[in-house]
């Protein structure tokens, strides 16, 4: 193929997609970096250097959102991972392959369902007259109806449970596919040697899926940083900022109050840095695990 023809083919095949990426991702990214150096309200933006970044580190709302992100990560990552390992392991032991595929399909449903739709369901579930309240009252654990979403810890728990429901299926599938790479003979041999199921899990299964577990925890961190719909619909970030996340704070700064696009952009740069770091760790872990 001549050089000229190759170039023309490259332009025809790659051109359109690259223009879309350029316009919808790269330019906004650069714009965002620039915007973060301007401050002011609505359209009256003025260059202010690194003022936004200085303001950011003394802004209690930002620090609070970061704290919430850390707290959500600390709770969500182990809970989702342990549940996923338990579920993936149980599915893997099923004998019938058609049952396996049905179960895998069902547990994947939450990850393809609109966050807006399930968030409204969970909001109703945790409300004063929701099923959670009624069940707890019937069981005698509570004596009166509580609006969980109006207490800081209740709202946090509601968001966490919603995310556990929405995310666990996806990670179960990820870990399930990693389990397929373990040689069945190894486990058979261990069983013949009289190893218990728990021992097989701890000594053979977990070590061989360690890379995927690490990968999952990085992916989960990325998801926690970006929690938006759940918070906006279930708790509006409240009460008293107990469930505020950076993503929702950016939205509020830009579209709910008198917009402060520059400051919001500076916060989005923080999200960018956090998510690039988690992605780089993910790539490093990926290289380690599959080479």
């Amino acid at each position: 193929m001549s050089k000229k023809k190759l170039l023309s083919l490259q332009v025809k095949f790659i051109g359109a997609s690259f223009v879309i990426i350029l316009f919808f991702t790269l330019l906004p990214l650069i714009y965002s970096l620039g915007l973060s150096l301007y401050s002011g309200r609505a359209n009256q933006l003025e260059f202010s250097g690194f003022d936004n970044y200085i303001r950011l580190f003394s802004d209690e709302t930002v620090l609070n959102s970061l704290f919430n992100t850390v707290l959500f990560s600390v709770v969500l990552i182990p809970v989702v991972l342990i549940l996923s390992i338990v579920i993936a392991n149980a599915v893997n032991k099923l004998k019938s392959s058609s049952l396996k595929s049905v179960v895998l399909m069902i547990i994947f449903f939450p990850s393809i369902t609109s966050p807006v739709a399930y968030s409204f369901f969970f909001k109703q579930l945790f409300s004063t007259n929701g099923l959670v309240n009624i069940s707890l009252n019937n069981l005698g654990i509570l004596n009166n109806a509580v609006n969980f979403l109006l207490t800081p810890s209740g709202a946090k728990i509601a968001i966490i449970l919603t995310c556990v429901w929405a995310w666990t299926g996806w990670y179960s599938l990820l870990i399930y596919s990693a389990l397929q790479n373990i040689e069945p003979q190894v486990i058979k041999a261990a069983k013949i040697d009289g190893a218990s199921n728990l021992r097989i899990l701890l000594k053979i299964v977990l070590p061989s899926i360690k890379p995927v577990i690490l990968l999952s925890s990085v992916l989960l961190t990325g998801s926690v940083i970006q929690i938006f719909s759940e918070v906006m619909i279930i708790s509006k970030g409240g009460p008293q900022g107990a469930t505020l996340t950076l993503a929702y704070y950016i939205y509020r700064l830009s579209f709910e109050y008198v917009s402060q696009f520059g400051y919001a952009a500076a916060i989005s740069v923080i999200i960018l840095v956090l998510s690039v770091i988690t992605c780089l760790i993910q790539i490093k872990l990926g290289e380690k695990s599959y080479d």
Binding site: M105, I106, V116, L131, N197, S275
Partner: protein, 274 residues
Amino acid sequence: MIKRLYSKILNLTIVAIACIASLLPYILILISSFNTSVDIKKGDLFTNASLKTFIANFNVVMSNSDFLVSMGNSILVSVVAVGVGLLFASLAGYAYIIYKSKRTEVLFYISFFCIMIPSTVTIIPLFMMIQKLNMLNSLITISLMSLSLPFLIYLFRQNTKLFPTELIKAARIDGLGEFQIFFKIYVPYMKSIFITSALILFIDSWNSFLIPLVVVLSKNKSTLALYLNNIGSANNSDYGVFMLAIFLSIMPVIILFIIAHKYFKLDTNSSAKL
């Protein structure tokens, strides 16, 4: 023997609980739609549930023009996203391997880097850009903004590596043009990747919330996610009708997934390798 039985029962219990927990919200949403708003707000989903109420709720939803318009818009946004996304991602993923050169490698790494950029980072500048270009309040804008092109290009590029180049050489000898080779040989060969990508594109655009929230200004351009948000945030909404609307908005994606899931392949093992 008994120990084995125990472990089998334990396993089945775990699987059963996982399935029930996954399905329970859908079931409860459906049961809620058999109730009147009063019963749902009382928290009583079972005593007064009736088919009559369900049909009444169904008629209310189906005669609600806002719901129907949003449903139509969501379908349009998703279909355009699938069409445009599939075409451009597959063309690029193919070319990054078949017409590989130093130039294209650089472009690919730039596009790969974009996978790491979350939409929360680009949404504000994008909003300002499309505002200046008068592209706000347009369904096409929502489609284009919902495309996860960098990831899909990566997915196609990875799978093109496994595509036998002899097929291309043979086709060139037979006198087929480059685009003919792509559409007549590559597309059928990569069927499952195309279906997987189509599902990803459809699900992403159907479920996207932040993008239409920022882009849409008028009711006639609302998508289902926005419609649900508007109804759910209002104080005087009929919850029976609302739950049915939620159920109807979830189902298209679930049904598509059930139909196409046997082709759905996300090769997680190659997910981090370039």
